[in-house]
């Protein structure tokens, strides 16, 4: 066999085998599931047990299994709102919002305005990027319960999708109050549900220039970023307004702006031990924002001088 044929066969063979093996692979089931499965086997018509097992599947991330069980229950009792809701949640989890909306339409009319149903519908529309419809359902949730945490978070995520800082700020303030704990609004945590791009804001814009120097003070790199994220909470604006080191006022066609420069020297710039790809500006433990798009390999002794320029429209 020619080595080109061999190489070709090996690579594509591997690829085919992995495609076959990867798709149907399901995680090992925990003890609780085994136990419930055992009970369900002996009581195949007991809808409560079947529902409990389906919910456990969902909680263990086995949405496909949960859906087939929900379907089994719906075959026996088609108007079961908890089951319809569970199936809709799973469909959203699997990234199938259209199907989720279809099944939610079958919810009995007396249950249609329950908060969890409205939230699930709103989330389906959010996934479909139908913002108006999503907002309509989230608003209904907040009309029923103005303090609903899920409703407020959903509105913030919608604001993120719409890049609406004012809307995000309003709901973040409602969710966290005026003085949140630092960990609550840390934009680096998780998938950053509350962080928005700073430059989309109508009031503020910011840029960052960062010098990377080695232990001998020699210049290694200089990078800039406009892609700066922040949490649009009133507290953040307070931090920004009070943290001025250098302030200057300029006027142009777009209005009057106040420009601040904040210079931060970091002796330990590394977020990861390998690369420098973000910078933070902190104040009283609150991370204001960070920038990325500039991963540079670093070594021991490297440090950064970050110069933030924040521009605020004041007239």
């Amino acid at each position: 066999m020619k080595h080109s044929n061999f190489l070709f066969s090996v690579i594509f063979g591997f690829f085919t085998i992995f495609t076959i093996f990867t798709f149907p692979n399901i995680d090992a089931q925990d003890e609780k599931i085994l136990e419930l499965e055992d009970i369900a086997k002996n009581n195949p018509k007991n809808l409560d047990i079947l529902l409990k097992l389906a919910v456990t599947y969902y909680e263990s991330g086995m949405c496909e299994k949960a859906i087939s069980l929900y379907d089994e229950i719906l075959d026996i009792r088609s108007n079961y709102p908890e089951v319809i809701f569970g199936k809709a949640i799973c469909l959203n989890q699997l990234g199938l919002p259209e199907q989720s909306l279809l099944i939610l339409d079958t919810v009995p009319s007396q249950n249609k305005n329950e908060i969890h149903i409205l939230l699930t519908k709103g989330n389906s529309y959010l996934m479909l990027r139908e913002s108006d419809k999503a907002e309509e359902y989230f608003k209904k949730v907040l009309e029923k319960n103005p303090d609903s945490e899920s409703g407020l978070i959903s509105m913030i995520i919608l604001a993120k999708q719409l890049r609406d800082h004012n809307m995000a700020e309003t709901f973040l303030a409602k969710l966290f109050g005026e003085t949140p704990a630092p960990s609550q609004i840390n934009p680096q945590s998780g998938v950053m549900p509350f962080a928005l791009s700073f430059n989309d804001s109508e009031i503020y814009s910011a840029s960052l220039q960062m010098q990377i120097r080695n232990s001998a003070d020699k210049l290694v790199a200089i990078v800039e970023s406009e892609k700066i994220l922040h949490v649009p909470h009133p507290l953040m604006y307070e931090i920004l307004d009070n943290n001025a080191i250098f302030v200057e006022t300029i006027q142009n066609d777009a209005g009057i702006f106040e420009i601040k420069k904040i210079i931060v020297k970091d002796s330990e710039p590394a977020i990861s031990s390998y690369f420098l790809d973000r910078a933070t500006l902190s104040f009283d433990e609150y991370l204001v924002f960070f920038a990325y798009n500039m991963a540079i390999p670093i070594e021991e002794g490297d440090y950064t001088i970050a110069e933030w320029t924040i521009k605020k429209k004041i007239g």
Binding site: K2, L7, Q93, L94, G95, G190, L219, E224, E307
Partner: protein, 413 residues
């Protein structure tokens, strides 16, 4: 015929000037890291644009020394004995068996020393692992409001291979590591194929395996080398099974959409190959069909790519500048980048046509990263984006040291 030669010459000169431009910016940024960004950047500052970079003098000096030595050798100005030793070494014909032994000697310690990395916790090493896990939940066609996860799910081949590695071997790094080993082998085979010289292949393999960037990323699951592997394989298959080349290219695109922008590089490579005109046309048509299919699949799957594009020209220049920062520890590459470009231009001027597309692959792959940064700020440009550049650089080194008598084997017909 003369019209054809004239067109070819214009193409050659375009690629030479383009390559010198790209390499010139990189060298300038090594010597004066602040020069271009402080001139073109958005940020008003008081930086000295002519402050010399931390290794500016060293890189400049080494480029000068390597270039000087190259010219002395090229002009036969070394003492005869040294000249003969070098020439004899590079003209050495390696047997198949001997080559296999050398490759094993190179690869075995590499595998032994890298294997412990497979047991490092990917989630602690790469923040993107969380995004991968979120994407895995929705794979293959599920929708999510989490754009980063949606983008990962548009890279079907990568997801299949990573999920496969995780589910079957309980180690997400294993297949990516095997992919890196395969990339080393494909680099050897590709260089050997275009030079018909096993020694050139070995030199390219050695160059790649010493690269800091390659070694840093070779076992990372999140920054795997499959996309480079499939792309280099697609170039190799142009010579071997040309109709399968677009399949491998499509696999590369579905591993990392970034390689879609390499299409002009592949087209130039095909045009400069020694294949018949009819075959070249067939390959180009098959590439067109492949690209059409890729775009169709993305459209059907409501890909996120059309949501994250914009155009910002200044980002293009600053991105080329950043190349020098991002491959700062690839000292051998930086120390020899200018001599290599000059060497390949000289080889091309002497009728060794394959030097032209390889030169274009080296500088074009750097350029491609800058184009991406110009088009979108969605992606964080990590140094592993330059692995194709390092691979083509390795192939270029192999070509430069290829002293086979029948070196003109790949002239355009």
């Amino acid at each position: 015929m003369s019209q054809l030669n004239r067109t070819k010459n214009i193409f050659n000169y375009f690629i030479f000037i383009f390559s010198l431009f790209v390499v010139g910016i990189i060298l300038l940024s090594i010597i004066f890291p602040a020069l271009i960004i402080s001139t073109l950047g958005i940020h008003a500052n008081t930086l000295d644009p002519f402050e010399i970079g931390y290794n500016g003098s060293l890189i400049l000096l080494s480029n000068f020394i390597i270039l000087t030595l190259g010219i002395i050798y090229y002009k036969n100005k070394f003492p005869k004995q040294i000249q003969n030793i070098i020439s004899k070494f590079f003209q050495k014909k390696l047997s198949k068996k001997f080559t296999v032994v050398i490759i094993l000697i190179i690869l075995l310690p590499y595998v032994v020393f890298t294997t412990p990395e497979l047991f490092l916790d990917e989630s602690l090493q790469a923040p993107d692992y969380g995004i991968f896990l979120a994407a895995k939940e929705k794979f293959p066609f599920g929708k999510t409001t989490f754009t980063e996860a949606a983008e990962q799910n548009d890279r079907y081949v990568r997801m299949i291979l990573l999920i496969g590695s995780l589910e079957i071997f309980q180690n997400v790094k294993l297949l990516p590591f095997l992919g890196s080993i395969a990339l080393l082998l494909v680099t050897y085979i590709f260089t050997n194929e275009i030079t018909k010289n096993r020694l050139a292949g070995i030199i390219s393999l050695l160059f790649l395996i010493q690269s800091y960037t390659f070694l840093r990323y070779d076992s990372f699951a999140m920054y795997e080398n499959f996309w480079v592997l499939f792309y280099v394989l697609s170039l190799y298959l142009i010579y071997k099974k040309f109709l399968t080349s677009p399949i491998s290219y499509a696999l590369s695109i579905f591993t990392k959409a970034f390689t879609a922008i390499f299409l002009p590089l592949s087209i130039i490579f095909v045009l400069y190959s020694n294949l018949k005109t009819k075959t070249k046309i067939s390959i180009l048509i098959s590439y067109g069909i492949m690209l059409g299919l890729v775009i169709t699949i993305w459209s059907l799957d409501a890909s996120v790519y059309d949501n994250i594009l914009r155009i910002d020209i200044t980002k293009f220049f600053t991105a080329i500048v950043k190349t020098s920062y991002q491959i700062r520890f690839d000292t051998l590459l930086l120390a020899s980048i200018f001599p290599l470009v000059i060497g390949l231009i000289i080889r091309a001027k002497h009728g060794y046509n394959i030097a032209v597309p390889i030169l274009f692959l080296i500088t074009g792959s750097i350029f491609a990263g800058a184009v991406i940064e110009m088009l979108s700020d969605h992606f964080v440009i990590l140094p592993y984006r330059f692995i194709p550049t390092i691979v083509f650089f390795a192939v270029g080194i192999g070509i430069l040291f290829n002293h086979k008598v029948d070196g003109k084997i790949h002239e355009t017909q």
